[in-house]
Symmetry: none
Subunit: 414 residues, 2 copies
């Protein structure tokens, strides 16, 4: 495999972009924060604004990372199921059909008493283990619990289709639905619906008298005695990222979602000890893990989650603090890894504190490394980057920009 | 239907963009014009340059509006016919086949004497009424006259195709052609050609001795005794704009073309009393109609035609005056509608006075409303906007940018 002339790091501060915050003098949290290292890199490098998917599009973290890694999310993202499964760290391979699921409560006539089984929190791992790994008609059925009453089902086998209806009736008091093929002439959809219906029956048989549910009934709680799938999606076959670019690649991850996406595109993953995905994460440990990753791999992806959480919580001061911690992370990395390398620092989307959710505003982006043209940007924030030499990019532009600088990109043409 | 957190207005000054005008000291008409309101909005908001379709592409008003409304004109715009029909206010539905037509003069052997029937101006409405609404082989045939010898034919029915040749031989002294299917194995094209040929024969039968033509013969004028179709196109099935974006939408229109496009994409339309589509239009009435529209709808589209006419007429001073009138229109609107809302002000293409036609130069674009980052642009014109934070956008970016700010856009992903 081709080795890079220079290593490349794509460091993503989740939800980095923001809008002017009145109590910060109409600065954004990034502008308000003290970020001496990022500012120095901005002075030395090139800046711009980046739309993760396209201008104005409100990206999720999943679709944004797919786009940034060079995969078209409108083509790849066919139904929530696979990404729900990836998000809780399940393995999803190209061709797998995955479904979002609820643990629910049904009566003996299969009428839904509680779609969320009393919002069950404890015992779902044991319940999941009771059904995980069953094989139905040659199809492997992997089930894993998520938070509370949620979970995901991954079906692996030949000739499956995601074009089936939901089992979850989306209402209480109604009988569960049978999964049906959207097109009854489609043998893959017919078979997949049969497998899903058999899995649902099996879940009732194995869960109804499960010790967890016996205990719940004794406490007067509704039993989580069935698993109701919905939102089937198929995971497309992708060209693995390392193969596509001719380089080794690893993701240093904090959260299940990013781990799932990294594995889905064929990247290795590395956990930073003490990384929590929260504002209490161990930034120094992430920096040290990145330094080790850059020793071993050509390309490193890293997502630090904390700024996004502060945006969702509408807490601009905490967001500025998280950004300052990330600035320190970069400083420590540059101390710990002394070889010249290319860094792209950006966000996967904006999470403005005034919105409390992902917005379609572009995010600032910074490119640093040897042999760049540079520009006149002196600080790293939304306003300053709008005047940078990178202009207004899209997420899918970042990896080609990195790989051509790293010396791993083949010339297209003669 | 989801209601917007904020209303949105997309205000398009037709043909706004221009090139430096020597007699204006190399300013553009927009730069030369006094536009205090647009300049204030530029200072408070964010600016950029916008390519309606893509950089360098010379857009028509029809294709530009389709692109700006988020429909790919290369997919949607299959032949001029449907847009010619839309432009004269005919209803065109997805699946309809539409053709441009001429009233022509033929002799008894169906040889074309005059393709334009002496550039007939009077009586075409009566002639159109003689053929409009006929049903041939189950296909409804709607015909409407346009200016002078022009008109449009809309065919509505099952199993039609636009893949047929022209009846109009495009030359005088030659016999009319029979419409033929481009592929003789395509039953829809075979049938459509038969219907068109039957319509042409019927037009001759009904028009040759029509009182309008008897009168023309008496005056020594060539009779408009046949209708010759050409340029068949099919109107694609589109997801209606309000449904696609989950918001109510209306167009305040001056011209038939914009009315047709608005209806085609499923938007309501509102006429401003006194709006003429000319330089004599009632700008104040348009402003007042916009204020009413913003009260009632989530999203409002408006096109003001006058700058384009001045560009076609190569009259930069008249164009600057038209732009000043539009600046006043915006000021009056802001007086009349006092709620915070998002405004995108731009053009649908450039119509430089030095060219006298649409060019592929980008147009300035301005975004104004609450909670924006802003930039350092102080005036609204082509040069100043080139340095704005919006960078260089495409027409199709504008609606997503608006809908994410308005709070009606669903997040794509998790």
């Amino acid at each position: 495999m081709a080795r890079a002339l220079y290593k490349g790091l794509l460091l993503i501060a989740d939800g980095l972009g923001d809008r002017p915050v009145p109590e910060m003098g109409r600065k954004t949290p990034l502008e308000y924060a003290a970020t001496p290292t990022l500012d120095r890199l901005a002075r030395e490098g090139e800046c711009g604004l980046m739309d993760p998917i396209a201008p104005g599009i409100r990206a999720g973290s999943d679709t944004a990372h797919l786009a940034i890694l060079g995969y078209d999310p409108y083509r790849v993202y066919q139904g929530r199921g696979p990404f729900e499964a990836l998000g809780i760290g399940m393995e999803v391979r190209g061709g797998d059909v995955a479904l979002r699921c609820n643990f629910s409560t049904v009566d003996a006539e299969m009428r839904v008493i509680d779609r969320r089984a009393g919002r069950i929190t404890d015992g779902t791992r044991e319940l999941a283990e009771a059904v995980n790994g069953v094989v139905i008609d040659g199809v492997q059925c992997f089930f894993k619990e998520s938070v509370a009453h949620r979970g995901a089902l991954v079906l692996r086998g030949e000739g499956l289709s995601h074009r089936i209806t939901d089992v979850d009736p989306h209402a209480e008091g109604k009988p569960i639905h049978a999964a049906r093929p959207l097109d009854s002439d489609d043998p893959a959809a017919v078979r997949t619906a049969q497998v899903v219906n058999a899995f649902v029956r099996l879940s009732y048989e194995r869960l109804n008298d499960h010790p967890v549910n016996r205990a719940r009934r004794e406490q007067g709680l509704p039993p989580a005695n069935i698993i109701l799938p919905r939102g089937a999606g198929v995971a497309p076959h992708l060209e693995p990222f390392p193969q596509k670019h001719g380089m080794t690649a690893v993701a240093v991850v904090e959260t299940g979602l990013i781990r799932g996406i990294a594995r889905f595109v064929g990247m290795d993953t590395l956990d930073a000890p003490g990384a929590t995905g929260g504002v209490d994460t161990d930034y120094a440990s992430i920096a040290d893990t990145l330094a080790r990753a850059l020793q071993r791999y050509d390309f490193v992806l890293c997502n630090v989650k904390s700024p996004d959480l502060c945006g969702h919580d509408r807490n601009p001061h905490l967001k500025a603090q998280a950004i300052e911690q990330i600035d320190g992370l970069v400083a420590r990395l540059l101390e710990g890894y002394r070889e010249p390398f290319y860094l792209v620092f950006t966000g996967d989307h904006s999470t403005p504190c005034s919105v409390g959710d992902h917005s379609g505003d572009p995010v600032p982006v910074l490119l640093h490394g040897p042999d760049l043209r540079g520009d006149e940007v002196l600080r790293f924030h939304e306003y300053a980057c709008a005047r940078g030499a990178l202009g207004r990019l899209r997420g899918g532009d970042l990896v080609p920009i990195l790989t051509q600088l790293m010396g791993v990109q083949e010339k297209f043409g003669a």
